[in-house]
Symmetry: C2
Subunit: 472 residues, 2 copies
């Protein structure tokens, strides 16, 4: 069904509204839904320019039972920003002001549409940075990072986005504006609504302002690369490094296949071997930490470990940051499907890598593996021929196998990309029916009409295609 959204034209907004097909189609999908042709075209797009706009639109939509799906850069990976039930796509990218920096308190106030790199650039003017920044900093918005509880390469040392958000302004489904959290660095005052909103994928409220915590830039930064004879050695070295407590700021694994794809895309001259990319942050004594790390690598038959020049390291990190594109471009006949992001306790990380590679080999599917190894987090994508039904089915199986195995080992279906539409079937398996029931209860309490990003997070019901009845 479609919704009559003509009421948007009658609202007094600072921002704009469009019913044009091209604008609507531009808001049909996120990265993965785009690839897979799974977009849903909204009935209207609105670009709010203030908290008042967001409130006005939500109040009016709420009155009329019209779904509203927040949208920003569209870089989510699980269909999180797809307007699954049509209605309004609320594009937050015009609310993109840096509002205030308070360097004495290591704090920055931003609107949700600010791009990640703008936050880091603004912070850098004060000798600071935003530690949990995802690799997609220059493609993604802070708002998107918050509502998906994103994480990044430096999460192994500094934690995830949730750990660096102090306060949020939220507009609720009915247009009510509230604040959660505190500008104090710790609080135990009342229920922690801030962390409930973080990672809720726009289903409980729309973030309209965030106070982020920043960190001083370290005085010493050095990056390097280790090359191994086998994936097994590399994965075991990751586990041992984390277990040793070595102070690394990034600890990324890249398998030979991902390395080959990066070479094809960038011509960066990576060896055809399992690699670890690493970065160290310190105010002093960085050499001692690097040597400590070297002893761990040596215990795992490292073939080569070298600290790179800053220029060479920039090139390597760029290759790592843009691996998703390299995978996309690798073979014109193959498309990446099911980009994965599972996380397990670090002791299970080598097993998970072995399992994923073995299953991919059985299915005869190319499965480049990479990601934030230090967090026990692996990213992967199955490369498939979209016209080959058997291959599609095998990729589906492979995907299910890996997620289920991660959950089985005490891990999570998604470390940093959320549930969206793509992983709803795993929610109950991971958390249990009772826990999901509580989540539904909270959704019903905050958004009883289910107008905020309906069709996400919660498992499909028998009435799939109809908006969820949360009372069930």
């Amino acid at each position: 069904m479609t919704y009559d959204c003509s009421f948007l034209s009658d609202l007094a907004l600072d921002g704009t509204t469009s019913f044009e097909e091209s604008a609507r189609e531009n808001h049909a999908a996120d990265w993965v839904a785009q690839e897979a042709g799974l977009g849903v075209t909204p009935d209207a797009v609105v670009w709010p320019e203030s908290t008042a706009d967001v409130s006005t639109v939500l109040e009016a939509a709420h009155e009329r039972d019209v779904p509203v799906t927040p949208y920003a850069a569209g870089t989510s990976m699980e269909g999180n920003a797809v307007p699954a039930f049509k209605g309004i796509s609320m594009d937050m990218t015009k609310m993109n002001d840096v509002l205030e920096v308070r360097p004495d308190d290591f704090q920055i106030d931003v609107e949700p549409g600010v791009m990640g790199n703008v936050v880091d650039e603004t912070a850098a003017e004060h000798g600071m940075f935003f530690p949990p920044m995802p690799s997609s900093a220059n493609l993604s918005t802070i708002g998107g990072m918050i509502v998906n509880d994103a994480a990044g390469q430096k999460t192994v040392k500094y934690g995830e986005v949730a750990d660096w958000v102090l306060e949020l302004e939220i507009v609720l489904a009915d247009g009510t504006v509230i604040e959660t959290g505190s500008k104090a660095v710790k609080t135990s005052s009342g229920y922690n609504l801030k962390d409930l909103i973080i990672g809720s994928e726009g289903t409980l409220g729309v973030v309209t302002r965030a106070t982020l915590e920043l960190e001083g830039l370290p005085e010493q930064i050095k990056g390097g690369r280790a090359v191994f004879n086998s994936m097994d050695d590399a994965a075991e070295a990751v586990f041992d490094a984390v277990r040793s407590g070595v102070d690394v700021a990034k600890l990324e694994l890249i398998d030979p296949l991902a390395g080959e794809m990066a070479n094809a895309y960038f011509d960066t001259g990576l060896p055809d071997a399992a690699m670890i990319f690493v970065e160290f942050h310190a105010n002093h004594g960085i050499e001692e930490e690097i040597e400590f790390f070297r002893t761990i690598l040596n215990a795992h038959d490292v073939e080569q470990f070298e600290i790179a020049s800053d220029d060479r390291m920039d090139e390597l990190w760029r290759a790592r940051d843009e691996l998703a594109f390299a995978i996309q471009q690798y073979d014109p006949d193959l498309e990446p499907r099911h980009p994965g992001d599972v996380t397990v306790p670090i002791s299970k990380y080598p097993d998970l890598i072995r399992y994923a590679k073995a299953r991919a080999a059985e299915h005869d599917i190319l499965l480049p593996c990479f990601g934030h190894a230090g967090d026990g987090n692996v990213h992967y994508a199955a490369l498939i021929d979209p016209d080959d039904e058997a291959m599609l089915e095998a990729a589906d199986d492979l995907y299910d196998n890996i997620v289920e195995q991660a959950i089985e080992w005490g891990g999570t279906a998604t470390g940093e990309h959320g549930i969206g539409m793509g992983k709803r079937t795993f929610l109950e398996r991971e958390h249990g029916a009772g826990t999901v029931q509580v989540m539904r209860g909270i959704k019903a309490a905050l958004d009883p009409k289910d107008i905020l990003n309906p069709g996400k997070i919660f498992p499909e019901t028998e009435t799939e295609g109809v908006r969820v009845d949360l009372s069930k």
Copy 2:
């Protein structure tokens, strides 16, 4: 009113139940309620010994609309564990097993009644520790720390309790057992119920098992003490230290009055001056960090800064840890009232200290100030003659003034002790009516009959003395 709790005798429990007056009176109050004579005697006390026990009791109480207030060591500071509406006090201290340690994953599974020091002692066997441990480690339980989102001296470096809890088993009001969180170190799978339960003071569910994250013990630990000519210098030095990014693991301020009280109690020979106690943790290069810190102190006219021997430092930290007792014992004619725990952004910390001291002087009240300065957190207590009505009123005013001023400066009414009964009047002022309404909605969704620790967190209503109607 009282509740007929005789049904408890008919339940098949591993644990025990008592209706004896002495047992009931032992569960009437927490530390502060005890001091102030504000306890409420429950109708029965039950000591569950398993998750099944907790579930059985809650299911039966839920059916009968009988309030259940979880109780552990009774060391809370805001009446959090007082059974305000009588009914059942559920004493968790018999569920005190360490269930499993997984050193490879830096994880420990514990029951809620395990004492803090047992966690640290068990972790130490594996070269690890629980970083956010409160000063009351050997007096308080892990369960109490979790549901109040406690914090400690090392929070300035490592974060609060919430940051180190990975997974919780919870029994809901109706007896349903659920799990929240993940044993993976990061997850963005579904709503973050774990952090909603943390700090909810037993009003949303009863914690029956926790997976905590541990940290490797640092190879180098050094502590020291700085002495200042004025409180102003000391407070400004704290602010400057935090702003500089110096890597301190503890950063505690002690005012001359608190120092005097510690001397009277312990005979530790502290000077009658403003002091900072500090501790550094590092794997190497600790001397460089200490020298960096010294340059900051010098810029604030430090009178003396010395690194102490381990023995002397143990003595100093013990004096710091037990300041609450020293304050209690200081003058037989005076009682501590309104122990405070407000937190502000660090740039406001010197102002807050100045404000508190000035207001105390105006009111002619002894107000020792101390606490986790590096977090912008100040602890204090007003010493009053309980028979002096004017003094009691002045202490009430002083208390209100300080909390309101902290909120005014972007801070929080409570950094680590929760709202309980004591700070309910500040909840709306801090968060706004809309936010509190959402909190009420969540309480109603999880505990519609308001049987779990009723009378806490939410502001008093016109129907004070009657259990809260959450639909309002």
